[in-house]
Amino acid sequence: MTYLELHGLEVSFDGFKAVNGLDLSVARGELRCLLGANGAGKSTTMDLICGRTRPTGGRILLDGRDITYEPEYERARRGVGRKFQVPSVFKELTVRENLDVARSRHPSPLRTLRIFTGPALDDRVAEVVELVGLDDELDTRAGYLSHGQTQWLEIAMLLVQDSALILMDEPTAGMTIQETRKTSEIFNRLRGRHTLIVVEHDMAFVREIAQTITVLHQGRCLSEGTIAQVESDPRVKEAYLGSGGITHA
């Protein structure tokens, strides 16, 4: 069953069409990888879905509802979560406070004014904190975490936000091999419960997690299918001619 649909999505920056008539449909519970060279429009597509960028044409449907012109916080409330390329946690807040902000069940100020979070964590947060191994750092300011821990915190924040659709922009950037493996384990566990769209350059990681891959090229969908199908697609070969195919991109 289709959860997210993009119809002829288009955005132009001063005449340059970063995304140019993109059609994409992602089923509920699917894990979709977006591949493509630099400038193919991967991150822009993510920005369009989460509302950071406004499209100049086309439509975005989430669960059948048109969200093309909704502000980003409305989309977040509908279940669109986003992890950015550059780790963006709240550096001056502690790990606990970061998670508290991410746990946004009741986002209205009228509600949050009456919520006083005690030292105890709610079950979901406790579970996630243990999963990513930050249980000893709850009172550490996020600014003092190592790079790897910062990545984990951000993933933990996405998990406690509990979005139905999670958009990940290069989740394993800067991670060690072990950390990448742990991330792919987490992703495989999320599959089914959440819908995931992942932009990733690390092909080993993609092989580990991907069912369906969409290859973008010049703001359009170039090819779609399993890794084997995409790799053998002549259009992909042509687009990547000279760079030795997509797996070496």
């Binding site: 709240f90 946004s104 986002p107 964590l121």
Partner: protein
């Protein structure tokens, strides 16, 4: 509060100790300022201290918007002045018929050839209306301005510029509309506030208690606000407002909340200030006073309501005792203090205090734990 009996987090007690210490600091301060009249009889000193407390409240208000939510309001004088004029209008009408002409018309209106009380002055004959207006009017004006600014996603230095421009405009307007506002002289020769048979003589203990009580209540309510989840979200917005949106929060709503609560607090401060000086003048809405408030908050520590209030009290205390010696150079001296604080103490005096506390509690924790990590929670509670 959710049940805190089952601490899932091993270091929960650390946070708890810190938050208890913070609450204790606020309570000690409140008790201390409320105890002053038991030791001070001098009416002149009490009046002076009451004035410092009013300014302390104005600085605490700055800390709420700037320190917690990253909104640098250089036009706090608008709120402060609205509060001051609201109460001054009432207290001027209360002097009838001494400083007013026949029909209860304030003296400056007579000089400006008005022959009836302007419609917007009429409700200020009621003290309750004036007190409510002194809080709500600044809050509403700020909410309206905030609605335009924050919906349009204006942030950072542009907010500072807009609020400063707003201040200058309001100031010009008040000076220009002489017949309604007393113009350059402001509203002078005020009566004393009377509430329920109590008369608040600005040189008496009752008025001092009014100031100390207002500051205490505002500080504790402000502390509750900053401790709530909404307070955490405001701090997250200060760090990265863009990111907060993607968690589903309407960032503008939180900014408007912080901005207008801060303005309402400044309105109360303005009311007290007008009462303590027994007049309200356009200088209350002057650029110089508004910038000074920001400096006081920075000196005390903008990240702490209490710190900012103490900063204002300390700087004004210094000004009170030094400005006679440095009459012409006081502003210069204040500027120098500001630069020194920004360079050496970016989190102000409160930051210094917090760093000391953190070091102390870490030291205690490590000596209690004997260098090990496996300490039962119960023994740490008192640490």
């Amino acid at each position: 509060m959710p049940a805190a009996d089952t601490p899932v987090a091993p270091r929960a007690s650390m946070t708890r100790t810190k938050s208890h210490a913070q609450l204790a600091a606020y309570l000690v301060f409140c008790v201390a300022i409320l105890a002053v009249p038991t030791f001070v009889d001098d009416a002149f000193l009490l009046n002076k201290y009451a004035r410092y407390l009013a300014l302390g409240l104005a600085a605490a208000a700055i800390s709420l918007s700037w320190g917690y939510c990253g909104i640098l309001n250089l036009g706090q004088g608008v709120s402060f002045g609205l509060g001051a004029y609201a109460i001054a209008m009432h207290l001027k009408l209360e002097t009838s018929p001494i400083h007013t002409g026949s029909g209860g018309l304030p003296d400056f209106m007579m000089w400006n050839n008005l022959d009836s009380l302007p419609w917007f002055w009429v409700p200020f004959q009621s003290g309750a209306f004036a007190l409510a207006a002194g809080v709500l009017l600044p809050g509403l004006v700020a909410a309206l301005l905030g609605w335009f600014m924050f919906r349009a996603r204006i942030t950072g230095v542009y907010v500072a510029i807009i609020t400063l421009a707003m201040l200058v405009v309001v100031n010009l307007l008040v000076v220009d509309r002489q017949a309604y506002t007393g113009g350059f002289n402001g509203i002078t020769d005020l009566a004393w506030l009377q509430v329920g048979g109590v008369e608040f003589d600005p040189y008496g203990p009752a008025f001092y208690y009014l100031c100390a009580g207002s500051l205490s209540v505002c500080l504790l309510l402000g502390l509750a606000l900053t401790r709530s989840k909404a307070g955490t979200i405001m701090q997250a917005i200060r760090g990265d407002g863009e990111r907060v949106r993607f968690f589903g929060y309407d960032v503008a709503a939180y900014q408007i909340l912080a901005f207008s609560v801060s303005a309402a607090m400044a309105g109360i401060a303005g009311m007290l200030y007008a009462m303590v000086l027994e007049f309200a003048a356009p200088t209350f809405m002057g650029v110089s006073l508004s910038l000074s408030m920001v400096i006081w908050a920075a000196v005390g520590g903008r990240g702490s309501l209490l710190g900012a209030a103490i900063g204002a009290i300390l700087v004004n205390f210094m000004q009170g005792s030094l400005s006679e010696a440095f009459l012409d150079t006081w502003q210069l001296l204040l500027g120098a203090i500001f630069i020194l604080v920004v360079v050496f103490l970016p989190r102000g005096l409160a930051g210094l205090f917090e760093a000391g506390f953190e070091r102390l509690s870490r030291h205690r924790a490590s000596s209690a734990a004997g260098g090990g990590a496996a300490v039962p929670l119960d023994t740490r509670k008192g640490a």
